[in-house]
């Protein structure tokens, strides 16, 4: 089932009643979620990603715009008629019911010709429990489960009635780091096995990048960029997207373009063709630095972190907008810690140039 959002807008009245006007949580969203894919809605908190999810689920009604499931316009349809499964951030498992009762709960709501016998329900519940690998815990109460197990029960409950679309709200945020890695693979696996179109919301870019087929980067209710994770990472459309994706984060410098050359301070670091002379922001990915004694970019060395596979060089530069520059190089290089300065040359495709006025990316030819 593909999901299409068309000019979707959601406004809230301002919470602070003294201030006039409205808060626009979701501003004119138009995009299509292809059938059977896993989509990550990504952005900092307050960017409207949870609101978008609630609009798709039907728990909130849009101010304007339309939502289609396949060819059906479901914009005004109450949630229970949409055929969605929803997993909440804190799971919302009913604490007084056992795992089995929790999973069966949605099935007991079915009426008329869809009504199931008790045996059918048990069978379905067990089947789905096996899929998420909690079939051994069926008679426990949620309070007797670990966070990861609760998460699986929540997914099982959302999946048991075979929804057309599965929605996950910050599915991993309540888990510890190790469990998070494991569970995100699990979500990926379950999504692949069931083939259900899945939308999940997260503020953690790594999480979104690692499992999504497509990510939607949002900020302040406006879509910044949509695309495959690698594609968005490699070609960010603006400074925000560039900064938001990637760990360690991209290093941003103030600089300028003069006659086809890119300057940071007085150092010309690169040739750029096709960009008019102007002041710019320069974003350099950590992996875009090459340790080079003759390189154009000269930084003050602060320290070196050896991480086994690779080395992080921490340095500072007057033109850099953050306190430190983190660059990752292969551990084949030997870095002498005894020097005060370190010089880099740069990989051109890891260097992104943004207009200082619009913060949009400038591309040469």
């Amino acid at each position: 089932m593909k999901v299409v959002l068309q000019n979707l807008t959601k406004k809230f009245p301002n919470r602070n009643k003294k201030e006039a006007g409205e808060v626009i949580a979701v501003n004119d969203f138009t995009f299509e979620i292809p059938d059977g894919k896993l989509i990550g809605l990504l952005g900092p908190s307050g960017c409207g990603k949870s609101t978008t999810l609630n609009l798709i689920s039907g728990l909130q009604k849009p101010t304007s715009g339309k939502i289609f499931f396949g060819e059906d316009d479901v914009t005004g349809l109450p949630p229970e008629h949409r055929g969605i499964g929803l997993v909440f951030q804190n799971y919302a498992l009913y604490p007084h019911l056992t795992v089995r009762q929790n999973i069966i709960f949605p099935l007991q709501n079915l009426k008329g010709k869809n009504k199931l016998t008790k045996e059918q329900m048990d069978e379905k519940a067990l089947e789905i429990a096996k899929l998420v690998q909690i079939d051994g815990l069926m008679d426990r109460k949620p309070s007797e489960l670990s966070g990861g197990q609760q998460q699986r029960v929540a997914i099982a409950r959302a999946l048991v009635k075979m929804p057309r679309v599965l929605l996950l709200d910050e599915p991993l945020s309540n888990l510890d780091a190790r469990l998070r890695l494991q569970t995100r693979e699990e979500i990926r696996r379950i999504q692949r096995e069931t083939g259900i179109t899945t939308v999940f919301v997260t503020h953690d870019q790594e999480e979104a990048m690692s499992i999504s087929d497509m990510i939607v980067v949002m900020k302040d209710g406006i879509i910044q960029q949509i695309g495959a994770p690698q594609e968005v990472y490699d070609n960010p459309v603006n400074l925000f997207v560039a900064k938001f994706l990637g760990t360690p984060p991209i290093s941003v410098f103030e600089g300028c373009v003069r006659a086809g050359k890119l300057y940071i301070g007085d150092d010309c670091i690169m040739d750029v063709a096709g960009i008019d002379d102007q002041d710019v922001y320069i974003g350099i990915r950590p992996e875009g630095f090459i340790l080079d004694g003759d390189g154009p970019l000269c930084c003050d060395l602060k320290g070196v972190e050896v991480m086994g596979r690779d080395i992080t060089i921490v340095s500072t530069h007057d033109g850099c907008m953050s306190d430190e520059i983190r660059s990752i190089i292969s551990s084949d290089y030997k870095v002498s810690v005894n020097t005060d300065q370190v010089r880099f040359s740069l990989k051109p495709h890891k260097v992104h140039i943004f207009s200082k006025t619009t913060e949009m990316r400038l591309s040469g030819n």
Binding site: L59, P79, L86, A92, Y94
Partner: protein, 296 residues
């Protein structure tokens, strides 16, 4: 160390003194009183010890009437007030507009003087030579005939007493239930809604189990409170409750102690202990039931 010990006791001394004199000693004393036969409050003498006081109280028609009245009052007001409070609280928690206003209004009876507002109820229900009273006029409007709710037939009086009791206990119950309902996370409701759960099923399968601790707390305190009913009845029917046939157990205790028929602390003690025994039994039963049915 000893110094610290004595200092701590110094902090506690006033509380211990007050509690000792006005709670612990009376508690012991009330049992002694209840077994002292033929106590004379003027000369403060008695014949001996025995269970005569209990036997007297249990055979006193006024006491039996009081027990009957109290039991009826409990049986009617506890379920009814809890039920209505639940209904109103659920309604309150499902609206946004005017909610605070309603909550404020509903709480008003809590801060009013039971005796004073009881008078208002009395004049609303009373039938006098001048007027049948507002309630009777309403009754007439719907084709009923006037009843004197204050000095008239037993069930009319009982109705007013129950009505007023419910009116008085409602604020507390609504308050407790609305805060219990508010503490049920919205996510549970959203989850149920997405799954297409009907309102009734959401209520019985999610809301009720989640607020069951508060509900049982209300039932237990409701029983205890209703068994101790007294000033509501005084407000409606005056201090001579025995004459009105509307006495309660607590009223009987006080009447035995003081007033026109007073001066019998031994009988009062016996009656108070019987009341305590009844309340204790009911509370224990309630707790046993709640253990079975209350979730977590």
């Amino acid at each position: 160390m000893d110094n610290r010990n004595s200092k701590a006791w110094l902090y506690l001394l006033p509380a211990i003194l007050f509690l000792g004199v006005f709670m612990v000693y009376p508690l012991v004393d009330v049992f002694i009183y209840s077994f002292e036969e033929g106590y004379n409050s003027a000369s403060q003498t008695f014949f001996g010890y025995g269970i005569y006081n209990y036997s007297y109280v249990l055979h006193d028609p006024y006491f039996l009437q009081a027990v009957k009245n109290t039991l009826i009052l409990v049986a009617i007001t506890v379920p009814l007030s809890t039920g209505i409070a639940l209904l109103i609280s659920v309604g309150l928690s499902s609206i946004k507009k005017l909610r605070e206003l309603f909550q404020t209004v509903y709480f008003l009876p809590y801060v009013t003087n039971t005796l004073a507002v009881g008078l208002v109820f009395m004049i609303l229900f009373k039938k006098t030579a001048y007027s049948d009273g507002l309630v009777n006029l309403l009754l007439n409007l719907f084709g009923g005939s006037s009843v004197d709710f204050i000095d008239g037939p037993y069930w009319a009086k009982m109705f007013v007493l129950c009505f007023y009791t419910i009116w008085v206990v409602m604020p507390f119950k609504i308050l407790i239930l609305t805060s219990a309902l508010a503490s049920v996370k919205q996510d549970y409701y959203n989850a149920a809604k997405v799954d297409g759960t009907s309102r009734l099923r959401i209520f019985t399968r999610i809301t009720l189990p989640m607020i069951s601790p508060s509900l049982f707390y209300l039932v237990i305190t409701g029983f205890i409170g209703a068994f101790k009913a007294y000033s509501d009845a005084v407000a409606l029917f005056g201090v001579n409750l025995n004459a009105a046939g509307m006495n309660t157990i607590v009223g009987y205790v006080y009447d035995m102690l003081y007033g026109d028929s007073g001066g019998f602390p031994s009988y009062a003690s016996a009656a108070a202990i019987i009341l305590f025994a009844i309340v204790l039994t009911i509370t224990c039963i309630n707790l046993l039931i709640s253990k079975k049915h209350v979730h977590y």
